[in-house]
């Protein structure tokens, strides 16, 4: 609690584009009353106030270095509630794509001949390192959903993240289905909550919010194959955001990509 009695929420960023924090700032434009109910502590500030406690720590970005882990554990100690904010923190996200290539190649590609100066390892979601209490999915997150989540946290409720697919929102908006236009879409297995924003603008859903609890993978793959995608293309659309999850499954021998 701050001195004014408002609960403190803090934002921390790891490896990401910071698009989610931009969305948070955006949400303050549409919901300025958010500042009436919480104190937002910027991350640098937050880190300097040692021993300070937060009601909620929102963590943006994925963990990509050994040294991130220590920082994450500190945050976990200071915050009552830790929420992964956005696809990178939630899933490992786009950052995990590099795991599909040998690490040395990635380092050379990204850092050129300075590769050896930087420590890096396979990108992973925050919950691979510390316990998280909830996730706000999306790349970037959805503004209204973020506000709804803050309200839920203040009321001590579960985060109101749907467990049904994007197609539900897409149909209610009366979009013409992309499959009818010769395109493909991961809407049938992707967790809703973005209000089907991509199909609404004619772009394929790429699954940035992760999948619903019980996706029918086999059938989805068949639908994509029937739409003309090769096995490789299916793999790459499938792993755009969930490389980490797919690789974990492979390690457990549950799935072949």
């Amino acid at each position: 609690m701050s001195q004014n009695g408002k609960p403190k929420i803090a934002f921390f960023d790891f490896t990401c584009c910071e698009g989610c924090q931009l969305t948070v700032i955006d949400s303050l434009q549409t919901h300025p009353e958010l500042l009436d109910v919480v104190d937002i502590v910027q991350f640098r500030e937050a880190m300097s106030e040692k021993g300070e406690d937060y009601l909620v720590a929102f963590i943006e970005g994925s963990c990509t270095r050994e040294s991130d882990e220590e920082r994450l554990r500190k945050i976990r100690e200071q915050a009552s509630i830790v929420i992964a904010l956005g696809a990178c923190a939630h899933l490992g996200g786009i950052n995990s794509l590099k795991a599909l290539h040998p690490l040395e190649d990635v380092r050379k590609y990204v850092y050129g001949d300075k590769a050896d100066w930087y420590e890096t390892y396979d990108a992973r979601p925050i919950d691979a390192v510390i316990k998280v209490d909830g996730e706000i999915p999306g790349c970037p997150i959805d503004r209204d959903e973020f506000i709804a989540c803050v309200k839920a946290l203040l009321m001590g409720k579960k985060l109101p993240i749907p467990d049904y697919p994007v197609c539900v929102e897409c149909k209610l908006k009366e979009n013409v289905c992309l499959f009818k236009k010769g395109k493909v879409c991961l809407g049938p297995i992707t967790r809703a909550g973005c209000n089907a924003i991509c199909p609404t603008y004619g772009a394929s859903c790429e699954g940035c919010r992760g999948y619903i609890t019980n996706p029918n993978d086999d059938s989805m793959r068949e639908v994509l194959a029937e739409a003309g995608l090769s096995v490789d293309e299916i793999t790459s659309i499938y792993t755009m955001f969930t490389t980490y999850q797919v690789q974990q499954k492979m390690k457990q021998g549950k799935e072949t990509v």
């Binding site: 009321m155 001590g156 409720k157």
Partner: protein
């Protein structure tokens, strides 16, 4: 005049019952903690209103901002007028929010809903109650009504099983019932504890302890879905007929008024025709058990 671009409210149509979805603000009078997960709430409707429920019925409880959830009424109509009791287990958002409330706070109530136990058909009969775990709270309403009208019934047998001694609910009342000469109470727990001197084993193991006169017995069970198949087998093995076996089927009752579809068991809206059913009525329903 039909042409009219203005907006209207429900109040403009007097003939429509605009209260259907609107909960009645109801004050919490008392909260008693039964164990880690279960609390007993005594509630009072405003203006001396009476709930007028039957044992086995449920109400929809609202906590504004959290939502609404069905909760069975645990008090007996014979003991409550404007006051009634709900036993609330903390399992989701609504029940967690409910657990945070104190005496004096307000919750919203709609109902009562559903078909309760047809107690008038039970008169003159021996009654065998077999609640399992959380099945006691809904059944307690019926048990207490039967006990309050004790002279109208034959034997009263209660077989109550829980996972462990801590999960046995309403311990004071269990003691009262156990002390009565006109009640046969047998308790069991799946797993005993140090201080537990009683019977250990699942509820079905109690059946061999009793003998009944099946033609004059009404059997009633409420418990988790997995329990029903086994308890039903025991009832039938004792020779009780399907029409004399009653059970209550929990479903996701969203509206309570036969519209939303969530509570359907095959073609049956359990919020309307249930949650209490004679076994003979649901035997043919694939989705019932």
């Amino acid at each position: 005049m039909i042409a009219n671009k203005s907006y209207v409210t429900l109040a403009d149509y007097g003939s429509v019952d605009n209260q259907l979805f609107m909960p009645v603000p109801t004050r919490i009078k008392k909260v008693v903690s039964l164990n880690d997960l279960n609390k007993l709430f005594t509630l009072e409707l405003p203006g001396g209103m009476s709930l007028d429920h039957r044992p086995g019925q449920f109400v929809e409880v609202s906590i504004f901002g959290v939502g609404e959830a069905p909760i069975s009424i645990t008090s007996s109509p014979s003991r409550s007028n404007s006051q009634f009791e709900l036993c609330v287990r903390k399992v989701g958002d609504l029940t967690s929010a409910f657990h945070n409330m104190r005496a004096g706070d307000i919750v919203g109530i709609r109902g009562p809903f559903g078909r309760g136990f047809p107690i008038e058909k039970f008169r003159g009969k021996d009654i065998l109650f077999a609640p399992g775990g959380l099945g006691l709270p809904p059944l307690r309403s019926l048990i207490n009504q039967v006990l309050d009208e004790r002279a109208h019934f034959g034997r009263v047998i209660i077989l109550y099983g829980a996972r462990n001694p801590d999960e046995l609910l309403f311990k004071d009342e269990l003691k009262e019932w156990g002390d009565r000469k006109d009640v046969e109470l047998l308790l069991t727990v799946d797993k005993g504890e140090e201080n537990w001197k009683g019977h250990v084993g699942v509820i079905t193991t109690l059946f061999k302890e009793i003998s009944i006169y099946p033609r004059n017995t009404i059997a009633v069970t409420v418990g988790p879905p997995v329990m029903y198949r086994f308890v039903l087998m025991e009832f039938l093995a004792k020779g009780i007929t399907e029409g004399n076996i009653y059970l209550s089927l929990e479903r996701r009752m969203k509206c309570g008024i036969g519209k939303c579809g969530h509570c359907q068991i095959n073609n049956v809206y359990s919020c309307q025709s249930g949650p209490v059913f004679p076994y003979s009525e649901i035997k043919g329903l694939e989705e019932a058990l």
